[in-house]
């Protein structure tokens, strides 16, 4: 859930609760105030009617509410003296409304000049509670809606503005690659938390980059430093073999040492190549025609495929030309094809298909699927007896990753490796 959604939800929830509680309190208070005010009015009316009755005894004849807002009847003395003024809410038929309407009624007693006791009921029309509640409800609903919409708008606007440094940092972090020498430059911000975050991120990244670079430097230097002693050892042995007349047995033993040194050399070179690819040190791109390259390589491999009696099918369904480092393209295809030939069987098949943005290499081989993840990892060897470095397909993957090419392995009776170029390259 996005920050914006989450805060908006919380705010609108809290607002709903607050408004409801407020509405109840407001309603009760208001009603109380209304009663208060009407009761005062009724008390006042009572005095007025009594004063009127003193002047005009006809007033005392008003038995019903037909002509006014009061009704008077004569009562006994004892009842009159016992009586206390009461205010009640009651319903009364209103001709105008043609309905029972709520009224406030004061019941009181008084002594008139004629010496009798009278009971008087005075009414005043009241607010209709259901109408009041309804009105209140709609007003509140409108208020709530207006609040919510404003909160959403303000939130959207403010949050986007306030959190901009955060999102900027996030974007830059996403694009960041350890080992690439670019630095993350966070946006300047006056918000303390964000400034602290920026500083913390920068510190972590810098120390990581430093550690990474020194590791890389160490590995590269070590690899380079090995080259010279390896060269001396290898070349001395070869010159030795050339200079002296050795028996076959001696030669074989000598060359077992040579082979081991050669393997070490190759491992070293492959690892250096991998690290260079991963460091994006191959930047010089030119238009590479993969059809041509593939054709050339298949021709180069012809002696071997003929030797293993492998049936080669080359389908060119389209021309695939991309901006690519030429050596890398060559290493990529060579490794793919060599892999497909080396792990093939005598009398097997090799199908190479080129489409607008794909190259598919399919070959017969061991009749079971390989682990699609592992075959591209470093030092993976299908058969442990193999003297390969186990880096061939790792190099393929590295090249592809650096160029944004997808690599997929599939087994459908044949081993199939498919590399898909991004459309926009």
């Amino acid at each position: 859930m996005k920050l914006l959604t989450r805060t908006s939800l919380y705010l609108s929830g809290a607002l709903l609760l607050a408004l409801t509680v407020w509405a109840v309190i407001f309603y009760v208070n208001m009603l109380d105030e209304v009663h208060d005010s009407i009761d005062d009015g009724l008390a006042n009316s009572k005095l007025l009617v009594i004063r009127e009755a003193e002047k005009d005894s006809l007033v005392l004849q008003q038995r019903t509410f037909d002509e006014g807002n009061y009704a008077i009847k004569r009562i006994g003395k004892t009842a009159a003296l016992k009586h206390v003024d009461t205010y009640v809410d009651t319903l009364m038929y209103m001709e105008e409304e043609e309905d029972l309407e709520p009224v406030r009624m004061l019941t009181t007693t008084f002594w008139a000049k004629d010496g009798h006791y009278y009971q008087m009921k005075i009414i005043s029309s009241m607010v209709e509670e259901d109408d009041l509640i309804e009105d209140l409800f709609y007003s509140l609903l409108w208020l709530y809606l207006i609040f919510t919409v404003s909160i959403l708008l303000i939130n959207a606007f403010l949050l986007r503005r306030i959190w901009k440094p955060f999102y900027t940092l996030l974007d830059r972090l996403r694009a960041f690659r350890l080992g690439s020498n670019e630095r993350i430059e966070p946006e300047a911000t006056s918000i303390t938390e964000f400034r602290m975050l920026n500083e913390a991120v920068q510190e972590v990244l810098e120390s990581n980059t430093k550690a990474f670079n020194s590791q890389k430097q160490l590995i590269e230097n070590a690899s380079h430093e090995w080259q010279t002693p390896l060269a001396i050892a290898l070349n001395k042995l070869q010159l030795f073999a050339d200079k002296h007349t050795l028996t076959e047995e001696q030669m074989e033993e000598l060359y077992q040492v040579v082979r081991a040194l050669e393997r070490l050399t190759r491992l070293n070179k492959s690892l250096l190549l991998l690290s260079k690819i991963e460091n994006r040190q191959f930047s010089e791109a030119s238009a590479v025609n993969f059809n041509e390259l593939c054709r050339e390589l298949l021709e180069d491999f012809a002696a071997l495929t003929e030797h293993k009696n492998i049936h080669v099918l080359f389908h060119e369904n389209a021309t695939l030309t991309r901006q690519f480092h030429h050596d890398l393209a060559s290493i990529l295809l060579t490794n793919l094809l060599k892999n497909a030939i080396t792990h093939n069987v005598i009398g097997g098949e090799l199908n190479v298909t080129i489409e607008t943005n794909r190259i598919i290499v399919e070959n017969t081989g061991q009749p079971e699927a390989l682990d699609g993840e592992k075959i591209f990892s470093r030092f993976y060897k299908g058969d442990s007896g193999s003297r390969s470095t186990g880096l061939g397909l790792a190099i393929v993957r590295s090249i592809c990753e650096a160029a944004g090419i997808q690599v997929a392995y599939e087994f459908n009776g044949k081993h199939r490796i498919e590399i898909t170029f991004p459309a926009h390259m």
């Binding site: 390896l230 001396i232 074989e252 060359y255 050669e262 293993k308 060559s330 290493i331 060599k338």
Partner: protein, 225 residues
């Protein structure tokens, strides 16, 4: 063939020296920047084998100075740094070729000879061996007057052996020369075996007067019959 070897590692210098002497070359050596600069400015060489990391300076600076003087000596850079930048810089500065350590002696000899030939005869030289005449510029081979059709890789292998006549060529060296450095499982010698089988058959059929002999299980050696 007069060669200057600029290399600070004494052992490697000795090895290169020995290998070149076998090719009847006149070899001079320099172990640091200053002595190399002296020699390069005073004497002319057919080819200078130039290390990049030297005590006292960089081989690339030496190369720059040489080209500034307008000298046309061939230059083969030999460096432990396989860094692409160095390679490009070197070639842009006018080096003729670039070889990464560790290298096979046979590879060094083949490349040196190729540079010397280009410098001496402007590339137009032909190489005669047995009944064969090689035209390196056109990558053509004539056997007793008739063209001998070879594919690209077969030609490369043959010229590699011709440059290393009489020398034991390690299978790995051959594989790397023909297929490049960055191929995994280069020690899968089937590659070389099948190619060599075809080439040897063609040479035999054409009565080439040379033979590429397998030496135990180790490599091959070209000899004239």
């Amino acid at each position: 063939m007069k060669i200057l070897v600029v290399e600070d590692e004494p052992e490697l210098r000795e090895i290169i020296h020995d290998a070149l002497l076998k090719e009847d070359a006149v070899v001079e050596m320099a172990g640091d920047f200053d002595s190399a600069l002296d020699k390069m400015l005073i004497y002319r060489y057919d080819c200078i084998l130039l290390d990049i990391n030297l005590p006292g300076g960089s081989g690339l600076e030496l190369l720059e100075e040489l080209k500034r003087q307008g000298e046309t000596d061939g230059v083969l850079i030999i460096s432990a740094r396989d860094a692409l930048d160095d390679r490009l810089t070197g070639l842009n500065l006018g080096a003729d070729d670039y070889l990464t350590k560790p290298f096979h002696i046979s590879e060094l000899i083949a490349r040196t000879k190729s540079i010397v030939r280009r410098k001496q005869f402007n590339g137009k030289a032909t190489i005669s061996i047995g009944n064969l005449v090689l035209h390196p510029e056109d990558r053509e081979v004539i056997a007793s007057g008739n063209p001998l059709p070879l594919n690209r890789k077969e030609y490369e292998i043959l010229s590699y052996f011709v440059a290393n006549k009489g020398r034991l060529v390690d299978k790995t060296a051959l594989a790397e020369h023909v297929w490049g450095d960055h191929i995994d499982e280069a020690d899968n010698f089937e590659f070389i075996y099948s190619q060599m089988k075809n080439l040897r058959k063609k040479l035999k059929d054409a009565n080439a007067g040379i033979e590429i002999r397998a030496v135990y299980g180790i490599g091959y050696k070209l000899t004239e019959e």
